[in-house]
Subunit: 102 residues, 2 copies
DNA sequence: ATTTTGTTTCGTTATTTGACGAAATACTAA
DNA sequence: TTAGTATTTCGTCAAATAACGAAACAAAAT
């Protein structure tokens, strides 16, 4: 039997994965917020104040960014300090750079 | 009455819109294909041959990229020649560049 | 031991997405 | 006029997403 193969590369898959994670304005906002405040501690509540959504919804968006590897949360009870994951950030930047400039 | 405002910028919305359009490996594949073959005519069927999905499914992905403005189709019966929309491409590149480098 | 606090998880709901095959479209060739 | 061709649209379905409020958690303060 001939099985149709997956025909996209792992680069394409990774690019799509990061793109998907950034495919909602709230998540772009979160990333912008974390970059702008990279020197400070960023808590979920700080972002919640600036967004018109429920805290539970924000929490879901944070989880998606975490699952995509773009951010990480450091527990500092009862807070959780969020920051971008530098390694993934650099990888994502590289993928988009490759995608757009060639 | 106080209505909670939209708190993300139009830049964030546009970035998310493009990111969402690129949030599937098939669509990244399509964009890669169109860039790589920018000098040739690119037909839906050419891409269909390299992908493990139904033609109707591919057509839907093409529509999504078209709706996001990233590609355009020039009718050349019974073919449709696809190519990237340079204007949107440049805008998207600019948005991601701004997003990642600042 | 109880309460308070910031955050997440759960349960639910409505909408969107991704996939397929069948049917429609629109033009060309016979 | 009929048949053929490349592609899209339609109808359907299952799965994923986005949203909410209520409930659960985990540590700190009372």
């Amino acid at each position: 039997m001939f099985v149709k193969e997956k025909n996209y590369t792992s680069t394409q898959e990774k690019t799509a994965r990061y793109a998907k994670a950034l495919g909602h304005p709230v998540r772009v906002f979160i990333m912008d917020f974390l970059i702008k405040n990279a020197d400070k501690c960023c808590y979920s509540g700080d972002m919640a104040e600036e967004l018109p959504i429920a805290r539970s919804t924000l929490s879901q968006h944070l989880k998606e960014l975490k699952d995509a590897g773009l951010i990480q949360g450091e527990i500092n009870p009862p807070y959780i300090k969020y920051c971008i994951n530098k390694t993934s950030w650099v990888e994502a930047r590289g993928l988009f750079d490759l995608f757009f400039n060639r």
